[in-house]
């Protein structure tokens, strides 16, 4: 047998397909990956430390900047955590709007996932179509809060402002177009034989490994584990909606891709129901201007974000700033499985693996 040398190749931190400052040190044998070492921290902004020097309210825009691709979800997680500390009851209408905005964020994030996967595999046009559809969601966000991506719209106890009049027709219009969007994605991407060959049976993550590594979110469900916090531990008013949890079978890249595509559909269902049931009324609970939880209060709250289980752990010392804030970032934990699923694959597979794990480095590095 011909003996060959191994060599290291640095994928990133500056590389077209690492979705930000991710550095993967790949040990290669020819084009085959022997091992991959993940280095994170290039986008470290000390968000948790910043939280200690800001008041509870002032941290809201920073929370949005964790997962900037689905900014309403991390904000929702943070806001709900503090509400849990203060025992605030959010008005009905605000709860429904939170669901609507959160699910729209999830759709935006998943559409971007589809697009970035397409461009990582070399299908540039798939990316532009996905961006085109995502823009429509961003338009909705801009309508409500004036910001497209990092909308700081949520507040403790509800929202800053009520929905504008034109929002509901526009949202319904978007939902109406989802089947057409899907047609396009299915024909251009998921039905494409080249793409299937690139994704099927690549980067297989068994259910057992996924649980052991603490993988959550669509990546876990792609491995066939039926675990969705919206069903398993409904927060907010998620128990009022009927929706399915799409599951994969093998846990390969194609399953991860398809699970997210189906989740877009389910999120659309949730939004439709929420829009139908949306009650009139108050948009924000009465809360003190300065938020001061009791001394010694410790709260952990988790939500199902677009990338997985996003948890906030906050300790209060009775002051107006958190004593300690920790974020359980799903992207960070999901990324750690990259070496496991990449070993033995080709160089081109590791690109697909990074893309289907769908990390957002702002959240992974914090």
């Amino acid at each position: 047998m011909l003996q060959t040398d191994q060599y290291n190749i640095n994928i990133g931190p500056i590389h077209p397909s690492t979705h930000g400052g991710l550095h993967v040190e790949a040990v290669m044998d020819g084009e085959t990956i022997v091992d991959a070492i993940v280095h994170v921290g290039y986008v470290h902004r000390a968000v948790e430390k910043i939280a200690e020097s800001r008041t509870y309210t002032q941290f809201i825009p920073y929370a949005s900047r964790l997962d900037y691709l689905a900014s309403h979800l991390p904000t929702m997680g943070y806001v709900q955590t503090v509400e849990k500390m203060l025992d605030i009851h959010v008005p009905e209408r605000a709860e429904y709007i939170r669901i609507i905005m959160g699910e729209f964020s999830r759709i935006a994030s998943h559409i971007l996932f589809v697009g970035s996967l397409a461009i990582d595999l070399g299908a540039t046009t798939g990316f532009t179509y996905c961006m085109r559809d995502r823009e429509k969601i961003l338009d909705l966000f801009e309508m409500t809060s004036g910001q497209r991506m990092i909308a700081s719209y949520m507040r403790f106890g509800g929202f800053a402002e009520d929905l504008p009049e034109e929002f509901i027709p526009a949202a319904r219009n978007f939902l109406k177009n989802i089947p057409q969007m899907f047609d396009e994605y299915n024909h251009l991407l998921s039905g494409n034989e080249i793409l299937q060959a690139r994704l099927k049976n690549i980067g297989v993550l068994s259910a057992e490994d996924a649980i052991n590594y603490g993988i959550t979110g669509p990546n876990l469900r792609a491995s066939g584990v039926d675990y969705d916090l919206r069903k398993a531990e409904p927060y907010g008013i998620y128990d009022r909606f009927a929706f399915d949890v799409p599951l994969g079978e093998k846990g390969d890249n194609y399953d991860r891709f398809m699970v997210r595509l189906q989740e877009i559909e389910q999120s659309g269902r949730i939004i439709t129901q929420a829009l139908d049931q949306l009650p009139e009324g108050e948009i924000r609970a009465k809360i003190p201007r300065i938020v001061k939880p009791e001394k010694g209060l410790e709260v952990y709250h988790r939500i199902e974000s677009a990338k997985g289980e996003l948890g906030y752990y906050i300790v209060s010392d009775g002051g107006e700033k958190p004593y300690r804030l920790h974020v359980r970032a799903p992207s960070f934990i999901n990324l750690m499985v990259l070496p496991l699923i990449s070993r033995g694959g080709k160089l081109q597979d590791i690109i697909a693996n990074i893309a289907t794990l769908d990390p957002v480095l702002g959240e992974a590095d914090r």
């Binding site: 047998m1 011909l2 060959t4 040398d5």
Partner: protein
Amino acid sequence: MSLNDIVFIALAGITLLAALGVVLSRNIIHSALFLVLTFLGVAGIYFQLNAGFVGLVQIMVYAGAISVLIIFAIMLVMDVEPDQTNLFNQSTPTIMAGGYVSVLLAAGLAGAIWFTKWPLSAVQVGDQGVEKLAGMLLGPYVVSFEVAAILLLVAVFGAILLAKGVEDK
């Protein structure tokens, strides 16, 4: 001096210089690339002799072969500085042996060229070279042609087996 002579001298010069480059380069990749140039020069001479088909076969086969050769060179000498991959062997017995062989070869070739009577054929090859070649290969010489092909195929399989190794059951 006719146009033909000028072209011949240019081609022969390129070929010889490139051949020297093959021998004298210290970097094995450079040697391989000079070898490409040598073959291209030879192909040019074939063209001049109105044997276009042979010349093109020369180009096509050697372009592929040389790139593979370069890859082997890269694979085999990767750990060394590229500038030191094709050094002369300094030991006296090797130089002696090499010199002896090359003198013998040169003498043999010179003798052969000198004593052979080169017959001048009145037949113009013209444009029909390819057809004639095809007729010969698939007519009188079909058996030897096929045998050679099978031999090459076996060699390819052997090479793949050697490179990949047989998995133990």
